[in-house]
Symmetry: C2
Subunit: 242 residues, 2 copies
C-alpha cells in the first residue's frame, strides 16, 4: 500500500479543544397493569453527585474504551438495568447545552426501548417501574430527564399512530385483542375493533400460533411477529396523528 491513506502519514494531531461530557439516556417502556410504564433509577446519594437520590432515566457516561458506538452503549446500559435485550431500540435525538448538568457543558444521546414487562425483582437493584403518567405529571426527575422522557414519549406515541411498534411491548404469542389493548394504553384512547383487525392483519406481519384459551370466553387466535420482519408502516395514521 503505497498511496496516501485516509490517515495522514504522520500521526493525526489531536486538536486541543474543550470537550463536553457525553452521555446516553434511555427511556425504557413496558406495559404493566394496563398502564404504560417507564424504568427509573435513583441517583446515588453521594454528596459529590448532582441530584443525589433523585429519580432519573437510566443512562450515564459513554465509555469510549468499552462502547464501540452509541447504540452499543445504549444496549449495554439497557442490559445492565433490565437483564434483557430490547425488542425495539431507537434513537430519539440528542440534547446538549451548558446548563443541563451542573458539572459542565453536556450532550446526551436519547434512546427509547420497548420491552415486555420485566418483573421488578429481576431488574437491577436500583431500578423500578413507574407509570409514565405519574413520571411525567407528579415526579421531578433529575437533570432535564423530565423533558427527555417527554421527547421519547412523544416519539413513541406518534409512531404508534402509523406503525406496528406496540407489538414489541408483548411477549408472543399474543392475541389481537391484547395487541389492541396495548395500542389503547399507549395512545390513551379507544380504537375500533373491526378496523384495527383489518388493518393489522392486512399488514401481514403476524403469523398464527394457534388458539389461546380465554377465561370462560371464546378462545382467540395467538400471533407472533413473523421472522425477519421490520417495523411495519401502515398506509394511514389512526387519526389525529399530526
Amino acid at each position: 500500500m503505497k498511496k496516501t491513506s485516509k490517515r495522514a502519514n504522520k500521526e493525526t494531531v489531536v486538536p486541543n479543544i474543550k470537550r463536553p461530557f457525553t452521555t446516553i439516556d434511555l427511556a425504557i417502556f413496558a406495559v404493566r397493569d394496563v398502564k404504560l410504564n417507564v424504568l427509573l433509577v435513583n441517583r446515588p446519594k453521594t454528596a459529590n453527585d448532582p441530584f443525589p437520590g433523585s429519580p432519573a432515566l437510566p443512562g450515564g457516561f459513554i465509555d469510549i474504551d468499552k462502547d464501540p458506538d452509541l447504540l452499543a452503549c445504549a444496549n449495554r446500559k439497557l442490559l445492565e438495568k433490565t437483564k434483557v435485550e430490547a425488542n425495539y431500540l431507537e434513537q430519539v435525538g440528542s440534547v446538549g447545552n451548558g446548563t443541563r448538568d451542573p458539572r459542565g457543558w453536556s450532550a446526551t444521546h436519547v434512546y427509547f426501548a420497548l420491552i415486555p414487562c420485566v418483573d421488578e425483582q429481576n431488574l437491577s437493584k436500583d431500578a423500578y417501574w413507574m407509570p409514565v403518567d405519574n413520571a411525567i405529571n407528579r415526579t421531578k426527575l433529575a437533570f432535564d430527564h423530565s423533558k427527555l422522557l417527554l421527547l421519547a414519549l412523544d416519539r413513541l406515541r406518534s409512531k404508534v399512530e402509523y406503525t406496528s411498534l406496540p407489538a414489541y411491548l408483548l411477549t408472543p404469542p399474543f392475541t389481537l385483542p391484547q395487541l389492541q389493548q396495548i395500542y389503547e394504553v399507549v395512545l390513551d384512547r379507544q380504537l375500533d375493533k373491526s378496523s384495527f383487525r383489518t388493518r393489522t392483519l392486512a399488514a401481514n406481519y403476524l403469523a398464527e400460533t394457534g388458539l389461546i384459551r380465554g377465561d370462560a370466553t371464546r378462545p382467540a387466535m395467538g400471533y407472533k411477529i413473523k421472522q425477519n420482519t421490520d417495523l411495519i408502516f401502515f398506509p394511514r395514521p389512526l387519526s389525529g396523528a399530526s
Copy 2:
C-alpha cells in the same frame, strides 16, 4: 436561600472520564435549477487535518464557550457558511463511534436546514452547492458524511410526504405550481395537480399575496406562509411513504 440547591453545597466534582469529541454536522438544502442541492465545503489542506481537501458537510466542533446549546451551534455554523438564517432547522439525530474520526472517539449531532437558494458568490468562500444526486452517488465525502447526508435526505424525503416542509425552500410570494414543483423535485416524482391544490389549500397555512404574472400565460395566485404557522402535518401521506 437556605435550603439545599440542586448543586451540592461543596463544588460538584467534575468526574474524571475520557470525553469523546463532540461535533455538529449540517445538511443544508436548497433548490437550484430544478434540482435539490446540498451545501458542501472542502476540508482544509493542512497535513494534520483528516481528509485534507475532501468535500464535506459544513460543521465542526462545538465551542462550549460560544454555543449555549446544540441548536445555537447549528445556527451559528449555518450563518457562517450561508450568511442567512434557516427557514427551517431540525435535528436528524446523532452518530457516534470510535472509527468515524481518525483523531478519536467522536459523536456528531446532525441537523438539516432548508433555505431558499443563496447565490454562490454570497456564500462563505469555501462553500458551494452540489446537486444531492451527485453528492450521494458520485462524490466521496469526508468522514462518514455520505452516510450522514443520506440520513438527512431520508428524513427530508419522508417528511415531505406528509408535511408542508417544501414551502421553506421557497421565498414568498410563490405560486402553487411552483410549490408543487419543489415537492416533485424533492420526491423525484410527478404529483397530481388537482389533489395537490386541494390538499395544500385545505391545510389553510397559506395566505394570498396577489396575482403573479406569468410568461404569456395565465397569472397565478401568489402565496406566503401565514404568520406564526408551524409545520403542517397532512392527514395522509402522498403515497408509498412507508
